[in-house]
Amino acid sequence: MSMSVILQQRLPRVARGWNTLGATWRQLGEQTRFYGKTIGSLVDVFMHYKGELLRQVAAMSLGTGSLAVIGGTVAVVAFLTMSTSGAVASQGFNQLSQVGVEALNGFAAAFVNTRLVTPATGAVAFAATIGAGATAQLGAMRISEEIDALEVMGIRSIAYLASTRVAAALIVVVPLYCVALLLGYFAAQSITTWFYGQSGGVYQHYFNTFFIPADALRSFVVTVAEVTVIMLVHTYYGYNASGGPAGVGEAVGRATRTSLIAAVFVILFVTLALYGQTGNFNFAG
């Protein structure tokens, strides 16, 4: 008759709450260990699993299954960034014209798109396409016991499945983010000049004056950080899926929720760390 038995009999609700807390805490530890192992095994990927890495790069950039029908990851990312930048440009144009300075819309696009809108939209797009896709694949492999089969064959499953996907995502994301950023600027410009009829020269002038190239580089840092976190979360939930075919679906949903939250916090803290409290911005030059 230890303390825990007495606790369970006398205060069942407290004991249950305590157990849930313990389980959550343990799961957090498991997760951390998985992430550490995945990152640590990145070396193995480049040493032993180069072929699988290339295959993942190809699959991620073009998309698989029915996603490939609508143009793959590239199309989805392009679509999402264009529509958010378009929405922000039309919002900006209308609000700025209320104070009579709609000419500054080019400046708003250069500033807000680079620092905030494109990294945030990119996070959503990457989590939805390559992230959720990885969870679905790994989850299906887990419940059809393919991962156990890999282990039996002597393949390091975390390195072969999770680390290759993280590495492939980091390789794929750089050109994808270039596309996203460029299309975001393009959408903002075409909304302002074609849809609202501002003259192209005015837009170009303010855009070029206030576009900070270093900001674009910093936003790459933000994106790489957020994609690392997104892929780690998604591979964890896929690798540890359970509960049959239905469990895979639940794992995808849970992974998307978790990775979106994690990505936004990463964006927030990396942005604050990169730009500092003053914002590192000089309007007057």
Partner: protein
Amino acid sequence: MTHGTKETPPPHRPWAETKALGFVRGLGKFSAFSLDAFLAMLRPPFAGREFLEQCWFIIRVSMMPTLLLVIPFVVLATFTFNVLLVEFGAADLSGTGTALAAVNQIGPFVTVLVVAGSGAAAMCADLGARTIRDELDALRVMGVDPMRALVAPRVLAATLVALMLSSLVTLMGLTGGFLFAVFFQHVTPGAFAASLTLITGVSDVLVSMVKATSFGLIAGLIGCYQGTHVGGGPAAVGNAVNETVVYSFTLLFIVNAVLTAVGFEVTK
């Protein structure tokens, strides 16, 4: 082929079933499904209990993500705006920036993320699990119409919850922006509150609510469509949820861009 093996002619297919038209076919099926769902909503025996349970389900799934997503987003936006405003020497107007961000853009944006990423994904996983266990066919055999019993209450629940969530998002966003501006960026609280309503008015709040309602409707329809059209195999449900997330994000972002532009023309 080269060694004289007899080539079997491909089975004859009408041109409408070619693979290239798969996307269009999916679109047509989805439209038909949506019409069916709307009809099912109007036909009398309304599954009220299921509706309430689904509302509670979606709220339970999306409450935490909402709260955890909106605060960092608004803090980011407030930070970016305030950097500008401090540079102009107009930090007192920071409430304007926060209100603009929270009501007009971040409110709908976060609602999209939560409704599509959490609500529709969870709904699709739930319905997909039932579909692959042939529960929907069992319902049909028992004379229960799954559209009326399962789909209609889910779509309505997603619509209602999206509307409520957007209000929550806006309120949480304004509070978070206020705290960040006042305690971290040293803006006067009175000036912040006074400048909140400078450009953002009732019409913006209404447009934001209309946006959220339509997001909920579309995300609910996509989630239910994908959930009820799951094929066999263990990878199918996972892929269906993945597709739900991708399609609903894509569609809702476009709808957001269009409604933003339309909203300005209407409220002018």
